[in-house]
């Protein structure tokens, strides 16, 4: 069964989510699948993790990406490559109208609402906002996995909780 899946996985593009990893020259992608339990005749979620070659650092943690198996394994660990970032994390576009969305509302509607009430300069402006990643490693510690602090080192690691 599992061999069957792995054979199929080599041919097709896979859709997965980028998860935080400590590896510097590869990204870790989680692919969600459903596996049939033959006793219960029910499907259960099963996650597969793939390490992907991504020299340009196309994807950041949380992005939904397309990956494909490399013709030859780059290393023992790296077996796939990142083809394309399909949905960047936290920057959602409505597929029907092509407008940007925040939660269940269009961003332009939110702006319009603020204008009607009387916009203040303290509010957030999407046009002035820099692209994602300017707080990475400063105040936003999500690119690497956090862990329980187990020792007092000379240098304090911010990822130790």
């Amino acid at each position: 069964m599992s061999r069957h899946i792995s054979d199929a996985a080599k041919k097709f593009l896979l859709l997965g989510q980028c998860v935080p990893t400590v590896k510097q020259n590869a990204t870790k992608i989680r692919v969600k699948r459903l596996e049939l339990d033959e006793n219960l005749l029910m499907y259960f979620r099963k996650d597969d993790f793939y390490y992907c070659h991504d020299p340009e650092k196309k994807c950041k943690s949380g992005d939904i990406v397309l990956i494909q198996a490399l013709p030859r394994n780059l290393t023992k660990l790296i077996t796939h490559e990142v083809k394309e970032v399909v949905y960047p994390f936290g920057d959602i576009t409505d597929p029907v109208t092509g407008k940007k969305v925040a939660k269940e509302r269009y961003r332009e509607d939110i702006e319009r609402e603020a204008e009607i009430y009387g916009k203040l300069p303290s509010g957030f402006d999407y046009k002035k906002a820099p692209p994602r990643g300017w707080q990475d490693g400063k105040k936003d510690f999500t690119s690497k996995p956090t862990y329980t602090k187990f020792h007092v080192f000379d240098e304090n690691d911010p990822y130790a909780v």
């Binding site: 603020a114 009430y117 203040l120 957030f124 994602r132 187990f150």
Partner: protein, 277 residues
């Protein structure tokens, strides 16, 4: 006799292990920090600077107080009104940093700002009264709530999330895979693994240095040999197997190696100087 010998042996083994551990690792258990402390909750700044003679939030809206005498103003200042009114001003200060419009109360950023203000006030209370159990519980709940809101905001609007972290001066760390009580065994295992890794890395780098140091002499030897072969072949009018390109290639390699070697030597010298100082 045998039994005595075995017991002696086993005892000795135990003693030896106690005296001489196999790997020299010192483990210090990290000190437990209460979860309400700013370094755990991720608050990078304390309470904002609010002068003690500023009026309470509701009273400052009043028309009459604007031309009231000083004594009346002092009565309605937060110095006299107490901590509760002060806390209201703290929350107002933080929400004003991120407010979209005047009536903005329920959006994610204002909610997070308000929670942040409340958390910082309670952290101040906890500093003064560390055994206040009610405050401890409340601040814990608020911190968890804020983390949840930040997590959701990150999912649907990353740019705003980053901007908010900057404005309110908060750190956001994702949840670890598991929250568990730290054990000695786990820590020692991780430390041993790190120790082994460092040994492996140092051995590998040493070996690499050794091989690289041998590259230079070998290349000079190769260059001489190639030149000799070429000259011999031309002299004896044999078919020439060594082209000039081959020789040039080796020369280039030798040049590159020399540049690298110089850089390495300079780094070594610098290290030595630092050690001497």
């Amino acid at each position: 006799m045998l039994r005595r010998a075995t017991t002696l042996f086993i005892q000795n083994r135990g003693v030896n292990q106690l005296v001489k551990p196999l790997v020299n690792i010192k483990w210090t258990r990290p000190e437990a920090i209460p979860a309400y402390k700013p370094e755990r909750s991720g608050d990078l700044e304390g309470l904002p600077q609010i002068p003690s003679n500023s009026l309470g939030k509701e009273y400052s809206l009043c028309e009459e107080i604007k031309d009231a005498p000083e004594s009346v103003k002092t009565i309605f200042s937060i110095e006299h009104l107490g901590k509760k009114e002060y806390n209201v001003l703290v929350k107002k200060e933080l929400t004003d940093r991120v407010r979209r419009h005047e009536y903005d109360e329920r959006t994610a950023e204002t909610r997070i700002a308000k929670l942040t203000g409340h958390i910082r006030c309670l952290q101040d209370t906890m500093e003064k009264f560390p055994r206040n159990a009610k405050a401890k519980q409340t601040v814990q709940e608020l911190i968890d709530k804020r983390k949840k809101l930040l997590k959701y905001l990150r999912q649907y609007d990353y740019k705003k999330f980053e901007w908010l972290l900057e404005k309110l001066n908060i750190e956001y760390k994702a949840h670890p895979e598991t929250y568990h009580k730290l054990t000695r065994k786990e820590s020692l295992r991780k430390l041993t693994e790190m120790h082994c890794d460092s040994i492996r890395q140092s051995k590998l780098s040493d070996y690499r240095n050794l091989l690289e140091s041998q590259q230079g002499p070998f290349l000079t030897q190769k260059l001489d040999a190639l030149k000799f072969i070429r000259s011999e072949q031309t002299e004896l009018q044999l078919p020439i197997t060594v082209t000039e390109q081959d020789i040039k290639k080796v020369e280039d390699q030798l040049k590159e190696w020399k540049i690298k070697d110089e850089l390495k030597e300079q780094a070594k010298k610098k290290k030595r100087n630092i050690l001497l100082d």
